[in-house]
C-alpha cells in the first residue's frame, strides 16, 4: 500500500478539508476519529470571519476603517482589540522589528494569519480533536502527534534547491512558520530602514503557538544577520535558517 502523496499513512479515520481564504489555501488534516465536518465547518467560518474583519484588501473591514481613522480601537470588536494588544506586546519584544505599521499603514497581517490558524486549531480541540494539523499557506499548527505513537514530521522547503527539503521538524504540538524569499520574492522589510533584508533566504521558526511563532519569524527575518542571536534568546522557540550561499544554521535548543 503506498502512502498518500503528501503524507505518511493516516492510521485513523479522520477528516480533511481545503479552504480558500485570505488569498491563500488552508488545509485541515484531522486524525481523531469522530471529529468531522461540524468541527471543520466552525473552523472554516472562523477563517472567513477573520478575513472579513482583518483584511487590508477590503475597504470596509474593521482594520481598514480603523486605519483610516473612521473607527477608534474602542469601537472595534474583541478580536481586533485582542490583536492590537498582542501586536503591541510583540513590537516591544522584538525591539520594533515586528511592526503593524512596517508598510506605512495599519497592517497586522504578520500576526493575524498565524493567530487565525492557531485559533482554528483551538476550535478543533474544542470539538474533541487530539490529533490534527492545520496548514495555512505553509505555516503550520499541529496538535498531538500524527498518530498515537508518532510525532508530526513537518518538512521545511528549501528555496535554493527546488527538489529538496532543507530539513524536517519533528515533534508534537508543533507550530512551524517559515518566512523568506519564496517564489514571490522578498516581502519582509526592516521597519526601521524600510529595506528588505538579504542575509537570509529562508528562516523557519518552531514553537508551540503559531501566532507568536509566525510574528517572531517575520521579526527575526527583518533583523537579517541578527536573527540567530535574537531567537536564541526566545523561550520555547527554535530557528533553522538558510543563507543565500546555501549555508544553514540552527539554534541550540533543537534535539539532535
Amino acid at each position: 500500500m503506498s502512502a498518500p502523496i503528501t503524507a505518511l499513512p493516516s492510521p485513523t479515520p479522520g477528516a480533511r478539508r481545503v479552504v480558500h481564504c485570505m488569498g491563500t489555501v488552508f488545509s485541515f488534516d484531522v486524525r481523531t476519529a469522530g471529529v468531522g465536518q461540524a468541527a471543520l465547518d466552525e473552523a472554516e467560518r472562523w477563517l472567513h470571519r477573520v478575513d472579513e474583519v482583518f483584511s487590508t484588501y477590503r475597504e470596509h473591514s474593521e482594520i481598514s476603517r480603523l486605519g483610516r481613522g473612521e473607527l477608534t480601537a474602542a469601537d472595534c470588536s474583541d478580536e481586533v482589540r485582542h490583536v492590537l494588544a498582542e501586536c503591541a506586546r510583540l513590537e516591544v519584544a522584538t525591539h520594533g522589528f515586528f511592526s503593524i505599521r512596517a508598510t506605512g499603514r495599519l497592517d497586522p497581517s504578520g500576526y493575524v494569519k498565524g493567530w487565525a490558524i492557531e485559533r482554528a486549531s483551538d476550535i478543533l480541540v474544542a470539538h474533541g480533536s487530539t490529533s490534527h494539523c492545520v496548514n495555512g499557506g505553509g505555516d503550520v499548527q499541529s496538535v498531538g502527534g500524527a498518530a498515537a505513537d508518532r510525532p508530526w514530521r513537518i518538512g521545511i522547503a528549501d528555496p535554493l534547491r527546488p527538489r529538496t527539503l532543507a530539513a524536517i521538524a519533528v515533534g508534537r504540538d508543533l507550530a512551524v512558520a517559515t518566512s523568506g524569499t519564496a517564489e514571490r520574492g522578498a516581502h519582509v522589510v526592516n521597519p526601521h530602514t524600510g529595506v528588505a533584508p538579504t542575509a537570509l533566504v529562508s528562516l523557519t521558526l518552531a514553537g508551540s503557538r503559531l501566532g507568536r511563532v509566525d510574528a517572531m519569524a517575520t521579526a527575526a527575518m527583518a533583523m537579517g544577520a541578527d536573527a540567530r542571536a535574537f531567537v536564541e534568546g526566545l523561550d520555547g522557540i527554535e530557528a533553522f535558517a538558510i543563507e543565500p550561499d546555501g549555508t544553514t544554521w540552527s539554534t541550540s535548543g533543537w534535539q539532535r
Binding site: S2, R161, G171
Partner: protein, 160 residues
C-alpha cells in the same frame, strides 16, 4: 522543555521538494500542452501510462480485465494565482499516471512558474509515494493547489 527534533535532510525527497520550487534553474516550457507523467504499472498489469516527458496529457482508460485500474479526476482547486486540476490513474494502490486537466495562470509570472513546475510536480508524484513527511512549511501556491486536487482524486480510491 519542549522537545523538537531537527533533521537536516539535504536529501532529494520527491514530491515534497516540489513545494519549494522556483522558476529559475529550470527551462521554461514554451509548449502550451499540459504535461503528464507515467510509470510502468505493477508487474501483474500492463503499463497504463508511459510518457515521462512533458507532452499531451494522457491517461489510460481502465483496462478490461485488469479490474483495479481507475482514472480519477481531482477537484479543480483555485488559488490566488491560478486553477489547478489533476487527473490520476491508479492500479490498486499504485499511481501509474498523473496529468493536469487544468493549469491556468492568472498572470504572466504565474504562467512562468507553472511551466517550470508542472513537469516536476508530475514526475515527483510518481517517485514520492513514500515521502516521509506529514506536511510542509514554506509551501507555495501552485503546489498547494496541485496537492489538494491530487489528494481529492486519491481520496476517491481510499489511498490513505
Amino acid at each position: 522543555m519542549k522537545r523538537i527534533l531537527l533533521s537536516i535532510t539535504g536529501t532529494v525527497l520527491g514530491l515534497v521538494a516540489l513545494l519549494s520550487f522556483k522558476s529559475h534553474g529550470h527551462p521554461l516550457r514554451t509548449t502550451g500542452a499540459l504535461p503528464s507523467a507515467g510509470l510502468p504499472a505493477a508487474s501483474s498489469t500492463a503499463p497504463t501510462g508511459t510518457s515521462s516527458s512533458p507532452g499531451v496529457a494522457t491517461s489510460a482508460p481502465p483496462k478490461p480485465g485488469a479490474g483495479t485500474t481507475k482514472t480519477l479526476t481531482g477537484q479543480a482547486v483555485e488559488t490566488r494565482y491560478g486553477i489547478v486540476q489533476i487527473q490520476v490513474t491508479v492500479t490498486g494502490s499504485k499511481i501509474n499516471n498523473v496529468s493536469f486537466l487544468q493549469l491556468t495562470a492568472f498572470d504572466d509570472r504565474s504562467q512562468q512558474i507553472n511551466q517550470a513546475a508542472a513537469p516536476l510536480l508530475l514526475q515527483e508524484t510518481l517517485s514520492a509515494q513514500n515521502s516521509q513527511i506529514d506536511t510542509v512549511s514554506g509551501a507555495t501556491y501552485t503546489s498547494e493547489g496541485y496537492i489538494q486536487s491530487l489528494q481529492s482524486a486519491l481520496d476517491q480510491v481510499g489511498l490513505k
